[in-house]
């Protein structure tokens, strides 16, 4: 059963080796010296003001949170979709089950929308 994963394991090793090779080769063949101007962050030629790592809008954080919730919902749907036409004896029940699941989440979705979580202004 785990046999199909052997090529994947090989490929992971192979791709990682390639990545190391590319990075390493480039490091070895690279020339030139580091100067203060060269290593400054690029800001269109203006003098750099302050650090880049400022605090960011909470919007990004909210998007990540909402993403997890809907991702988990999708994860629950995958086995349901596969089973839907195979567990024929309970397919009506399956349909209602998922309808309830989706409706409960749709309530949350509408709430999130009305609270303006999807507005990006």
């Amino acid at each position: 059963m785990t046999q199909p994963y052997i090529p994947i394991l090989l490929l992971i090793a192979f791709v990682i080796a390639n990545a190391i090779l590319m990075l390493g080769l480039s490091q070895v063949l690279s020339y030139g010296e580091r100067t203060a101007v060269k290593t400054a962050p690029y800001e269109s030629g203006m003098p750099v003001l302050g650090d880049a790592r400022e605090r960011f809008s909470v919007k990004f954080y909210l998007v990540a949170l909402l993403f997890i919730i809907f991702d988990i919902e999708a994860v629950f749907m995958i086995p349901w979709a596969v089973a839907f036409r195979q567990l024929t004896d309970i397919s009506g029940l399956l349909l209602i089950e998922m309808l309830v699941f989706v409706v409960i989440l749709a309530v949350g979705y509408i709430y999130v929308w009305k609270r303006g979580a999807f507005e990006w202004d």
Binding site: T2, V58, Y61, L62, I68, L94
Partner: protein
């Protein structure tokens, strides 16, 4: 062969966990945690639970840890060392480590037959005595397909827990918005 792969990924998982708590930089910690999660997914695949492995990567590596990384970047924690060192911190660490040790000892006392007996008293989905011999789960997965062997018990036996999950997700949804958009 399989045991070699197991030990590689098990070592990677443990190493990732240890490095995660030893790193000073929160971003590096998050990355080590990611390597732990990925190794765990590989271990699931080795156990024949390929679907759980895929979901592990999809949910933990692809979603939960992205959130962690976001938060770490967002809060700009940097390298500050306002950590929990000092006598009270050490005491708390000792208590928690002791509790975890006791839990591990309890798990140590489990044998496959005792586990099978306890599963047999739970909600029945399979013949418990047949569930544990090696390879049973894999044969079953091969007979149906990998997803269906999870879907059948989930939507037949554990129907109510599944529906309650949606309420849990709803609560999470509302909670996220209330936390993030308090002023609106």
């Amino acid at each position: 062969m399989e045991s070699v792969v197991f030990y590689i990924f098990a070592t990677a998982a443990v190493l990732g966990g240890v490095m995660c708590i030893l790193q000073r930089s929160p971003v590096a910690s998050a990355l080590w945690l990611m390597s732990t999660m990925f190794s765990l997914a590989a271990l699931y695949v080795l156990l024949g639970a390929e679907l759980i492995g895929a979901f592990q990567v999809l949910v933990y590596v692809g979603a939960v840890l992205v959130l962690f990384l976001f938060v770490v970047m967002l809060l700009n924690l940097g390298q500050r060392s306002n950590d929990l060192r000092g006598p009270s911190g050490i005491a708390a660490a000792l208590v928690i480590a002791g509790l975890l040790g006791i839990e591990l000892l309890a798990v140590w006392r489990y044998t496959p037959s005792r586990l099978a007996a306890e599963v047999a008293q739970g909600p029945a989905m399979l013949d418990a005595s047949a569930a544990f011999p090696a390879g049973q789960a894999m044969r079953q997965a091969a007979a149906h397909n990998v997803v269906q062997s999870v879907a059948e018990p989930l939507f037949r036996t554990y129907l109510i827990p599944f529906e309650i999950t949606s309420v849990l997700l709803l609560a999470a949804l509302v909670g996220a918005v209330v936390l993030a958009k308090r002023r609106i």
